[in-house]
């Protein structure tokens, strides 16, 4: 790149914002369309061809609504919470390598960076729930914390397993190591860990739980908690939370792609590029939507039990197994 660094960063930042906004808008459309198809109905069709302008209509509706701060709510935290959910998602995208050169900041602690800013998300939803002064919102805040803390542990254990294989926390280097045919992807590195596909599934489950997606959407369990932490938010306040949910899905799927599915590497060893990254990422995003409309919502205690009694022991086992196998080879 022959642009001066500040200009390049600014351009990347703007591009990132546009990427997140377009994704959030059209993933909502994809979700509604997908939900419709899964349930054998057409989904949105009215606005534009196949309902493609529906996100625009929704956006205009949300923006034109008044943001109401309920009496008794903490006015500052109530307004800051949606931004605190959105900003970390954008920041983490800055270290994700979309292709070999298309990466905002190629830093050597990229992997931990993603988790560090991902963790702020939990706090933000909790703040939103607490600041609303609504009992459903507070129950939801409590659930978000216990759920996200519980699922962060197996996720980090899985990531540590992977780190031992890659030996670097630079996301671009992790992708470069997976060059070649698709059996070089970390997902299929059975020589260092015969349970690698299992770790990927654990990662994916934890990612679903961390982004509060169904079947783990205890934070926004609309059949029991109205809308959980977002109950009191009107207009764009809710809109930002909604967009942030999709932004976080994009971040989670990007990370899964980079760590397990070879990032921007093509599966045939030639012709790597951003297109492969997007293909893999959107395949995962589609799976996320697919899971949501296929599985019913879990109970809260079985959700926590799944993490503490099944996922954590399994990820511990894979961790130890990888240690041993790496020492032997």
């Amino acid at each position: 790149m022959d642009f001066p660094e500040p200009i390049r960063l600014l351009a990347f930042l703007l591009g990132m914002m546009a990427f997140v906004a377009v994704n959030a808008a059209y993933l909502v459309w994809a979700e509604r369309k997908g939900a419709g198809r899964f349930q054998r109905r057409p989904g949105p069709t009215e606005v534009g061809w196949a309902g493609l302008l529906q996100p625009v209509a929704d956006g205009i509706k949300l923006i034109s609504k008044q943001v109401i701060v309920p009496p008794g709510a903490d006015p500052i935290l109530f307004r800051v919470a949606p931004l605190l959910v959105m900003a970390p998602a954008m920041m983490t995208l800055a270290v994700i390598p979309f292709s070999e050169t298309l990466v905002g900041r190629d830093i050597n602690v990229g992997l931990v960076f993603v988790f560090a800013f991902g963790a702020i998300n939990v706090m933000a939803i909790m703040m939103g729930g607490w600041a609303s002064r609504n009992k459903y919102a507070i129950i939801s805040a409590a659930r978000v914390v216990s759920q996200d803390v519980a699922y962060e542990i197996p996720m980090l254990l899985v990531v540590i397993t992977l780190l031992m294989v890659t030996g670097t926390m630079n996301l671009n280097e992790i992708v470069q190591q997976q060059a070649g045919w698709f059996w070089h992807w970390n997902l299929f590195r059975l020589d260092v860990n015969p349970l690698m596909p299992v770790t990927f599934i654990i990662f994916f489950i934890c990612m679903l739980a961390e982004t509060n997606r169904a079947p783990f959407d205890m934070a926004e369990a609309e059949s029991e908690l109205v809308a959980g932490a977002f109950t009191e938010y009107a207009g764009m306040g809710f809109g930002v939370f909604f967009m942030a949910e999709y932004a976080n899905i994009v971040v989670g799927c990007s990370l899964a792609t980079v760590l397990f599915l070879g990032g921007w590497q093509s599966p045939f060893g030639v012709g790597s590029g951003v297109i492969w990254f997007l293909l893999k990422m959107y395949a995962l995003v589609f799976t996320v939507i697919w899971v949501r409309w296929t599985f019913p919502r879990t109970q809260f205690y079985s959700l926590l039990n799944l993490s503490w009694k099944i996922l954590i022991p399994i990820s511990m086992v894979t961790l130890v197994l990888t240690c041993i196998l790496l020492k032997l080879t």
């Binding site: 903490d74 935290l77 050597n108 602690v109 931990v112 988790f115 560090a116 702020i120 909790m126 607490w130």
Partner: protein
Amino acid sequence: MHDQLFWFFSIAMLLSGLLVILSRNPVNSAMFLVVAMCFMAGLFVLLEAHFLAIIQILVYAGAVMVLFLFVIMFLDLKAERRRRFRILTFGGGIIVAAAFMVKVHDVVEDMPLVAAKGVAGTTEAVGRLLFTRYLLPFEVASLLLLVAVVGVVLLSKRDLK
């Protein structure tokens, strides 16, 4: 650039630190503490301690402050808001803090002004040190965490025997 960022980060950090101890509502204190931690991470980046900066955000913003906020939310702390600061404790606190600052100033005053030496705190460099020279403290730290986990589980049982 380094110098301007230093002034920005440190002034912002000290301001949010001040607001931590002056806010009546503990939730606001906690939020300002998070802000202070983030600016501290900025200072770490200026000191080429990238690993520490990330760990700072991961541990403080992600874990410690979530715990704090969780506890504050579940203890009913409304009565605390109406309290006023007492002159005696307020004055005492300021005097002690000021005395400490004066002592530190005495120490710093005749310190040689050396330029920074280029050592970057990358994960690899810090990790190498951790697993060789500081291996025993590292293991002791892990034991400490285990003890903390057991202690917390015991303490949070409903009837404390």
